[in-house]
């Protein structure tokens, strides 16, 4: 594999006075981001644990309920998110290489893919609402699912809470992408300083990571 390296040039941006060096600042910011991602894992992980527990207790209901989700739509969104992760990583590497135009283009593509993800999600949600498939308390099931068991409805509570939290992350991520895209377009990341691009990249990859687990758990095996 061919690897390129670039030296950080602290000339353009001066590091904050409580850091030894620009490198020290970069490392600390990155570590802070990892610590934040730990809290994210624990939050989403707790919901996953709850899902696995109830799935174990009510396996039959969960397996029947998951068949109502559309695998093609879920798979489409998986492809969209993975592709957006690739464009995001290319955005980061072009910022590292100080290629302003390419950075902006890649971030813009990532933003567009995120829009595509939300559109598919919108189609899925409205389809479910149309059939009265809602979180347990609001479930009205206007068809053969009306007589469904509580555990059957519980699956959809998990579905909406988990994909809802994930979609909120997508929206926040889109805001962050717009923010660094603007800064990149202003040429702020052409002097060797690119910390915000890297950290937003982490956030976006984390959004991808969560979906990598949500997709098989909810759509494929139930």
């Amino acid at each position: 594999m061919s690897q390129t390296v670039v030296s950080t040039d602290p000339g353009v941006r001066h590091h904050a006075h409580h850091f030894d060096s620009a490198e020290h600042e970069f490392d600390s910011a990155k570590q802070g981001m990892w610590l934040f991602l730990v809290t994210e894992v624990l939050m989403i992980g707790a919901i996953f644990v709850a899902f696995m527990t109830f799935r174990g207790l009510y396996l039959e209901d969960f397996q029947a309920a998951h068949k109502l989700l559309s695998v093609p739509l879920g798979a489409t969104n998986t492809v969209i998110l993975i592709t957006s992760s690739v464009t995001m990583v290319l955005g980061v590497t072009s910022a590292q290489r100080k290629q302003k135009g390419l950075t902006v283009l890649m971030l813009f593509l990532t933003f567009l893919l995120a829009c595509g993800f939300l559109i598919v999600k919108y189609i899925e949600y409205t389809g479910k609402f149309h059939h009265g498939i809602m979180p347990a308390g609001l479930y009205t099931g206007v068809n053969e699912f009306a007589a469904s068991s509580d555990a059957f409805k519980l699956f959809f509570s998990f579905y909406f809470v988990m994909t809802g939290i994930h979609a909120a992350h997508v929206v926040i991520g889109m805001g962050l992408i717009l923010w660094i895209m603007r800064r990149a377009a202003r040429g702020e990341f052409t002097g060797g300083y690119y910390t915000p691009v890297e950290l937003v990249g982490f956030y976006w990859h984390f959004v991808d990571l969560v979906w990598i687990f949500l997709f098989p758990m909810l759509y494929l095996i139930g």
Binding site: V38, L42, M52, L57, L90, T93, G201, H205
Partner: protein, 263 residues
């Protein structure tokens, strides 16, 4: 710490390769979901997901080239999640039955918490009983005995002696008449726990289903019924056929209903 430290830059080619591998793995996991591996479905799907997650973390999030302390920090969160899930699972999935006092079984039927028995003379196999037995088997037995009754379920790996292979017709320690299987379900055997918390009907149903894996078994004699204190002349098996204990989640449900009634 030097200001001139070199940062690793992922090559475009490697980024695209990882992306292609991730997409292929997505295709693979969708394709493989068309096949039913029973309880292994979850394991297979999780293995693929973990592989994809590792690729994202190592290459896209740079952990492979980064300081090891960042990997350690991130791994810690999964370590704590594992503790969380393990401790919870040891409780939720291994709860024993709640023993009932005299008369409580009738109360359960009266309040609708426990279903009235549906099948008369359930020790005689019917297609309905066998179908019900299949459900009971899948929920309670298949993790050890396997979906096909071969004694090779996912949990069988850690069990010694191995779970009974139901397709072998000989050498069953307690016999394989339907009453024998009913007795083993009630009492347990070696590593197998007692399933006394199943309703008698579910135990009969499971016993009939277990017999379908092998050859036709001998009919039970009156002495066999006496062993399990079932009266074959009574429609539902007599007094001994009532429930003596219930699963803990049924008990929790009852406590909740009681509380609601008092409010």
């Amino acid at each position: 710490m030097s200001d001139h430290k070199q940062h690793h830059i992922l090559s475009t080619r490697l980024a695209l390769t990882i992306g292609a591998v991730l997409l292929s793995l997505t295709g693979f996991t969708v394709y493989i979901a068309h096949f039913d591996f029973g309880r292994w479905n979850l394991i297979v799907a999780l293995l693929v997901a973990v592989t994809k997650a590792m690729l994202v973390c190592l290459f896209f999030m740079n952990l492979l080239y980064d300081k090891k302390e960042n990997s350690l920090i991130f791994a810690t969160s999964f370590f704590f999640l594992a503790i969380f899930f393990t401790l919870l699972a040891t409780d939720v999935f291994f709860r024993g039955p709640v023993k009932l006092a005299k008369g409580q079984a009738l109360y359960l039927v009266a309040t609708g918490a426990q279903a009235k028995p549906k099948f008369k003379r359930p020790w005689v196999a019917t297609p309905e009983l066998v179908a019900r037995g299949k459900k009971v088997f899948t929920q309670n037995c298949a993790s050890c005995h396997g979906d096909q009754g071969l004694g090779n379920g996912p949990a069988s790996a850690s069990i010694n002696p191995k779970p009974r292979n139901f397709t072998q017709n000989d050498d069953w320690k307690k016999g394989r008449k339907v009453t024998d299987i009913f007795r083993t379900l009630t009492n347990g055997l070696n590593q197998m726990p007692s399933f006394a918390s199943l309703s008698p009907e579910d135990k009969w149903a499971a016993a009939h289903y277990v017999q379908t894996f092998g050859a036709k078994a001998a009919e039970p004699a009156p002495a066999d019924f006496a062993l399990i204190k079932i009266d074959p002349n009574s429609e539902f098996g007599g007094a001994a056929a009532t429930v003596k204990s219930i699963p803990i989640d049924v008990a929790i449900e009852l406590v909740v209903r009681d509380a609601q009634r008092k409010n």
